[in-house]
Every structure is written in structure tokens, then in C-alpha cells.
């Protein structure tokens, strides 16, 4: 029996070790663990939520209308049609440990980002730029105009990082520039952040501390929200979301995000005969029904770029073709990354094409990394894909189908499309530039290797105790504006 007693005592001791954490003021069931808290290294949406609380950019993005607002920089001015940008940095900026944040920090951070050895996913944003500083301004010069650069600067990927992190002798986030600073990161458990007393903007009414809980299952996140253990979760199971909409649950919201789900086709002539076949397959899909099947907030897509990009109206596709039996060499095959949500879309498409065109489609699901390899190798006919904006500009979507882009993955090379994108990159007049991009997109959706399906939505469950928390179309949040509702806390 002594062994049993031993087991009992050890179990109690281990359980006791897990106890005693005070809950944070605001608790979020955030998703998987971040791969890093270094803003130059991480890129996923759930990572973005944590990073944007820790790291301030030179600019900020207004969550509602995506307008670029001053951040660490007070003002920014273009010259030579946006080829050169000069950012005037605020006076007396400080890192969260009280040390001064200077233009030298901005330059050194961007130089680090440029270095391939840093391993930054967004290295190409500044790869060819040259950077110089004066006492209160940073000047960045690109080979071509980059009118979208101030908007890019609101993304944590371009945020300056402190000297300790640049020299790799500091935990990322321990010294930060954003409204919050890292208290601790316990892997598979939570990232706890606390208010940064040196943040440039007054944020004393914002929650004292925030827990970003590692919760991978949307059902667990729902349970935590319903039992009052978290205040916000962006992970809502599809079935629950449908029920919550029906119930008109006030804490639930579904809002559009700058993202699109679409099909990539291996560029003809391959196993698919020609572009008219792609057009026929596209016209045979009832997108309205598909959007309903996908879940609340999702809207039918007829363009690659979603609505809501400032100053840009996506082009309309060519008129509907008459459903004719498409010219195919045998059966079609659609690959998709394994997940319930993707399976629902794939099965819907299979049913639509069978019913409306009499075409048999074989569905093949592949585990995520294997799927990416298949897509990169071009060894597929049709693949289910999605893309979310890195910055609120049509180029964020359209650049993926440039023939030089590593994200193209269709084998589609169109000289006219490439020329239009290159022309847009040389164009200094913003409205002219958007017109050129619109022509490029028109070419892509009328005769390219893609079929847009739906524009994505974000679904959130947010406790009524908090206000100003609802994320914008880029999933962005102004952390310093979050407030407890009066009388709630």
C-alpha cells in the first residue's frame, strides 16, 4: 500500500505545483502557442494578436476603416512617388524598461530584418531598401515606389526591437514598445502580458494584464467562454456559430476579414484542357449557398481581393457562361488540407460539379505540410487555397500570382499580368496605381488559374464586460482602447 500512498502524495504535490495563478484582468482563448514572440519571426493570425499587444509599429491601423494612423512615428512623407519614405519619430519614446527608443533602434531592426540569417518571413518587404537616420527621423529608400509601405509599418513584422533582442541576449517581449510588455510565457499554457508604463500613448484605463491562453480546440474555447473562464475567444466552432446566430446571442459576432478562399488550378494546358473549362467549373458553383455552408459572416467571392480595401473596388468577372460539359481528360482531383472546415467546402464543390455539370471529382485530403509540398511541386489539378491580407492593399493578394512569386504555385505565367503589376509598382499616383491593379485582377479572374469561392469572416465571442475589443477586418485590435464597460467590473 505504501506505493499507492506514494502515488497519491506525488499526484497531490504535482497538482499543487500547477495551482496558485491569479487570473489576468482580460483572458483570451487565443489559439495555438505562438512560434515566437519576436515580431520579425512570427506571422500567424493568433501570433499577430499577441505581437500587436507587445510591439508598436511606426504607424497604426484603424481597426474599423483601416486608415493608417500615427504610431511611433508622428508623421511620414513620401518623395519620388513613394520610392523614399521619411518617418518622423516621436520625441522621448521609451522601451518598457525605460531606456530610450531611438531612430537608431528602428534602423538596426530593419537591417536585422533584411539579413536572411534572421529567418524572417517578411524579409522581402525591405530586402532591397537602404535605410538612413537623423536624430529624429528614419529614411527608407526602395528601388521602386512603395505607396503601401506606411500601411505595412503598422504590422508587427516591421516593428523596431530593442538592442537586447537584436543581440539575442533577451527573451522577446521582456522589453517591448507596445501597450503591453511580457510578464511570462509558459508554453502550452499562456502568454501573460502587463501594461507597459512607458508606452507613448496613455493607456491607464486598459486592462492591467492580459492572458493569451493556449487553446487549440474551438470546442474547449467555447466551453471556457460559456463557463466564464475567458472573456473573449476568436475560436468558435462552426455548428455553435450557426446556433448562436439563430439565437441572436449578443456576445457573438461574425464580421468580414480581408481574406479569400479560392481554388488554384494547375495552369492549362495540363490535365485541364483550357481556361474555359475553369470558367465553366467556376460558373457551376452556387457561391451564395457555399457561403451559408461555410458559416456566419462568410460572403460569396467573385474576385480574389475582398471588399473593404481602401480606395479599391474589385473588378467584376465576365458574364456567366452557359453550362456546357467541360473538356476534361478523365476525372478531376481536388486536394485540400485536412480539416473539417475544408472538407465541408470540398464536399460542397464535389456535389455542385456532379449535379450541375455531371463531372466526377475525387477529393484528396492531405495533412497541412504535405499539402503545401504538393501545392509547391505543382503535382495537382485543383487545390483549395486561402490568403489573408498582410497589409490593406490589393497588391497583398495580386502579387501572389506574379510569375516570379514563390506563392504562385499554379505554373501560370502571364506576361501582361506581370507587366501590369510592374507598371503599378512604378506608378506614383495612388488612384492610377489602383486602376492598374484592377486591370491586373480583371485579367486574373477572367482568364487566370483561380476560382474565388468566399471571402472570409472572423467569428468572435466577446464578454459584455468589455468594450472596444472587437477586431477589425485585418484582425487588428487597438489594445490601449479596451475598457471595462461601466458597472461591469
Amino acid at each position: 500500500m505504501s506505493v499507492l500512498r506514494g502515488v497519491l502524495v506525488t499526484a497531490l504535490l504535482l497538482h499543487a505545483g500547477a495551482c496558485g495563478k491569479d487570473p489576468a484582468a482580460l483572458r483570451i482563448a487565443n489559439g495555438p502557442d505562438p512560434s515566437s514572440l519576436d515580431p520579425h519571426l512570427a506571422s500567424s493570425v493568433s501570433e499577430g494578436r499577441i505581437l500587436s499587444s507587445l510591439w508598436a509599429g511606426l504607424t497604426k491601423s484603424n481597426p474599423t476603416n483601416l486608415e493608417v494612423m500615427p504610431g511611433l512615428a508622428e508623421t511620414w512623407t513620401p518623395s519620388e512617388n513613394g520610392r523614399i519614405w521619411t518617418f518622423k519619430i516621436r520625441d522621448n519614446l521609451r522601451w518598457s524598461d525605460g531606456s530610450p527608443l531611438t531612430t537608431k533602434d528602428v534602423k538596426a531592426s530593419w537591417v536585422r530584418l533584411q539579413n536572411p540569417k534572421t529567418g524572417a518571413p517578411y524579409q522581402n518587404w525591405v530586402a532591397d531598401a537602404s535605410i538612413s537616420t537623423s536624430s529624429n527621423s528614419v529614411r527608407i529608400e526602395f528601388p521602386n515606389p512603395q505607396p503601401q509601405f506606411p500601411a505595412m509599418c503598422s504590422w508587427p513584422a516591421l516593428a523596431p526591437i530593442p538592442p537586447g533582442l537584436r543581440n539575442e541576449n533577451e527573451i522577446p517581449g521582456e522589453v517591448s514598445s507596445g501597450p503591453y510588455t511580457l510578464k511570462y510565457w509558459k508554453i502550452r499554457d499562456r502568454v501573460r502580458v502587463i501594461r507597459n508604463p512607458f508606452y507613448w500613448k496613455k493607456n491607464s484605463e486598459a486592462p492591467e494584464s492580459i492572458d493569451f491562453l493556449t487553446v487549440e480546440s474551438s470546442f474547449t474555447a467555447l466551453n471556457l467562454f460559456l463557463s466564464g473562464e475567458v472573456d473573449w475567444t476568436p475560436l468558435v466552432p462552426r455548428l455553435a456559430a450557426l446556433a448562436l446566430v439563430k439565437k441572436k446571442e449578443p456576445s457573438f459576432s461574425a464580421s468580414p476579414r480581408l481574406g479569400t478562399t479560392f481554388l488554384r488550378f494547375q495552369a492549362p494546358p495540363s490535365s485541364i484542357h483550357d481556361y474555359s473549362t475553369i470558367k465553366t467549373l467556376s460558373d457551376a458553383i452556387d457561391r451564395k449557398k457555399l457561403a451559408e455552408v461555410v458559416g456566419p459572416g462568410s460572403i460569396p467571392a467573385i474576385s480574389l481581393t475582398p471588399p473593404g480595401l481602401p480606395g479599391y473596388a474589385p473588378p467584376l468577372p465576365s458574364r456567366f457562361s452557359h453550362p456546357v460539359k467541360p473538356k476534361l481528360h478523365g476525372r478531376l482531383e481536388l486536394i485540400f488540407p485536412s480539416s473539417d472546415a475544408n472538407r465541408i467546402v470540398a464536399e460542397f464543390l464535389q456535389d455542385q460539379w456532379k449535379r450541375n455539370l455531371g463531372v466526377e471529382v475525387l477529393l484528396v485530403n492531405q495533412e497541412w505540410k504535405a499539402f503545401l509540398r504538393t501545392q509547391q511541386s505543382g503535382n495537382y489539378q485543383i487545390s483549395l487555397s486561402s490568403w489573408i491580407a498582410d497589409y490593406p492593399d490589393p497588391l497583398s493578394f495580386l502579387e501572389i500570382f506574379h510569375s516570379d512569386s514563390g506563392n504562385n504555385r499554379t505554373g501560370w505565367e502571364n506576361v501582361q499580368y506581370d507587366t501590369l503589376l510592374d507598371m503599378a509598382s512604378q506608378e506614383g499616383n495612388p488612384s492610377e496605381r489602383l486602376k492598374i491593379l484592377r486591370r491586373a485582377e480583371s485579367l486574373l479572374i477572367r482568364g487566370g488559374p483561380i476560382v474565388p469561392l468566399t471571402h472570409e469572416a472572423g467569428t468572435d465571442l466577446i464578454s459584455s464586460q468589455w468594450s472596444n475589443i472587437r477586431p477589425g477586418p485585418m484582425g487588428n485590435i487597438n489594445w490601449e482602447r479596451i475598457r471595462p464597460r461601466s458597472g461591469a467590473k
Partner: protein
């Protein structure tokens, strides 16, 4: 001492063999740690591969991994770029051990008491209920038990939290979900053993001497039923370790179970290898401990 060294040697060899097989398996899977929706630029990819020595031959990489293992250095994680593999795994060990021990405790306490109660009066009320219940919990997968537990205890009664790891109460539902199927098996095992022992002449003699029933169960039956219980604990630990992967995810417990699956999915070669080695070592140690307990209870059995 010889037996000890033999066992230690076979434990170490098993770890090395599993390490080699796991290395080959994880490296032969399609896709790599730096594949993502947004492709890295070729220069960045090359720099990362050079940093993690992925640009060298597989044999060279294996030798390096083996050398690291022998030195107790599992290397840096390829997915969690700020952290080392040991740093990640060691953070989860107390939680996983706590959950595993909680599961064993549930299995042993419920399994042994219900098994003995059942054996005392075969076909009686307790026996019928126990047999039905044990069949039921053995037949239901642990993730369904977890869901039912959350629905009843967290939402209907509001007694227990639905997920998380802050308080000891957070471990009650996961331990129950993990341990109940094993409690069912153990209950049957103890019942069968108990019935055999209770039919023996020595027990009849004890009853005729007027010893109370509880005394007989506690001092004459229970110690002898513990031999199969101890023998069962080895494989049960293995079952709990694998079962804990799902339970950790459902209850958002920060153990090592999810790393085991997620590292393979992320093609985090170093973390996947480290988690496999750690699981093998824990499993080996648990079966060893169970074998030692068996030999203590019944000296005829050697370990």
C-alpha cells in the same frame, strides 16, 4: 545487481533504437519545418536550413542528433524559434505526470474498491451495478467521457471547471476521463481474482472463526489481488500516456502530450524526436517500476 544492470541496459538500448527509427520516420515525411502558406524567400530558406544543419547529409544529421542525445542536449526547436526542446518538454512534464498519476489513482482506487465489492457478493446489487458500469466506461472512448463530464459537472451542476490548469480542481475531470476506462478493466480483474481467493479454504476458515467481512477483505483478499493490479499498471501507464494526448487537448492542459502530435505536424524534427525519446524513457521507467512492485508483492516473480 546484475538484473538491475541488465534492465538498465535494455532500457537504454530501447531508447536508442526508438530514437533511430523516429529520426528516420520524421525525416521521411513529406514537407519540412519551414514550409508555410506564405513561402519564404529562397535566401531566407537557405539561411534557416544552414542554421539547423538541414543542408547536410542525413547520416551527418543523425550522428549529430545521436551525439546530442548522448550529451543530454536535444537541440533547439525548429518551430518555437525562441526555445530549446528540453525547455519546452520540461515545462510540460509536471502537468503530464500529474495527469497520469491522477488517472492511475482513479483507476486503482475505483477499480480495486468496486472489484472487491463486486466479488464479495457475486450477482448481488453491487456486483450487477459494477459490472454494468465497468462495461460502459470501458466501451466509451475517453474523449466522449470527457465531453459528458464537462456537460454534467461543469455546465449542469457547475461544480468543476471545464478546462484550464490553474487550480487542483482543474485536474479532477481530466483524471476521471483518463482513468475511468482503466478503472473498468481493473475492476473486472480484481473481481475475478477476488472470487478465486474468496472461494479458498483459508477464507472460509477465517469466516468460520468469526472475523468481520471487512477485515477479511482488507487483510486477506486485498493484498493478494494487488499482484495482478501491479502487473496491469505497466500496460495501463502506456495506455494513459497515449490517451493523455487527447485529454490534454480537450482540457487545454499544458502537458507534453500535444507536443508529441503537434511537433510531428509542424515537422519540428528536433521537438518530435525529443518528445518521442522522452515518452519512451517514461514508458520504460513506468513499466520497470510496476515490475519492481510486482516482485515486491510476489517474490517468486523476478524483474
Amino acid at each position: 545487481m546484475n538484473a538491475f544492470l541488465r534492465r538498465l541496459g535494455s532500457w537504454a538500448l530501447t531508447i536508442l533504437a526508438v530514437h533511430a527509427v523516429a529520426f528516420l520516420l520524421v525525416r521521411s515525411t513529406r514537407g519540412g519545418p519551414f514550409d508555410s502558406e506564405r513561402s519564404l524567400s529562397p535566401e531566407v530558406r537557405e539561411a534557416l536550413e544552414a542554421h539547423y544543419h538541414l543542408d547536410q547529409s542525413i547520416l551527418h544529421q543523425y550522428i549529430e542528433a545521436l551525439r546530442g542525445l548522448l550529451r543530454g542536449n536535444l537541440g533547439p526547436s525548429m518551430h518555437y524559434r525562441d526555445l530549446g526542446v528540453w525547455e519546452i518538454l520540461s515545462a510540460g512534464i509536471p502537468v503530464s505526470l500529474g495527469l497520469g498519476l491522477g488517472g492511475i489513482l482513479v483507476a486503482v482506487v475505483l477499480g480495486v474498491t468496486s472489484g472487491l465489492g463486486s466479488a464479495r457478493r457475486p450477482s448481488g446489487k453491487i456486483d450487477t451495478i459494477t459490472r454494468w458500469t465497468s462495461s460502459l466506461v470501458m466501451g466509451i472512448p475517453n474523449f466522449i467521457l470527457a465531453g459528458l463530464g464537462v456537460a454534467y459537472f461543469s455546465f449542469y451542476l457547475g461544480w468543476l471547471p471545464s478546462a484550464g490548469s490553474e487550480q487542483a480542481t482543474h485536474f479532477i475531470l481530466p483524471s476521471l476521463a483518463l482513468g475511468l476506462p482503466f478503472a473498468g478493466q481493473l475492476s473486472r480483474l480484481v473481481r475475478a481474482e477476488g472470487l478465486k481467493i474468496l472461494a479458498e479454504d483459508s477464507i472460509r476458515a477465517a469466516r468460520s472463526r468469526g472475523l468481520p467481512e471487512l477485515h477479511i477483505l482488507r487483510f486477506h483478499v486485498l493484498p493478494r489481488t494487488l499482484v495482478p493490479v501491479a502487473a496491469f499498471l505497466g500496460p495501463a501507464t502506456a495506455g494513459m500516456l497515449t490517451g493523455s494526448l487527447v485529454i490534454e487537448q480537450i482540457f487545454a492542459l499544458p502537458g507534453i502530450g500535444t507536443h508529441f502530435v503537434q511537433a510531428a505536424l509542424n515537422r519540428d524534427y528536433t521537438l518530435a524526436l525529443g518528445a518521442t525519446v522522452l515518452y519512451t524513457a517514461l514508458l520504460g521507467a513506468a513499466t520497470w517500476a510496476a515490475d519492481i512492485w510486482v516482485s515486491r508483492l510476489d517474490p517468486r516473480i523476478e524483474t
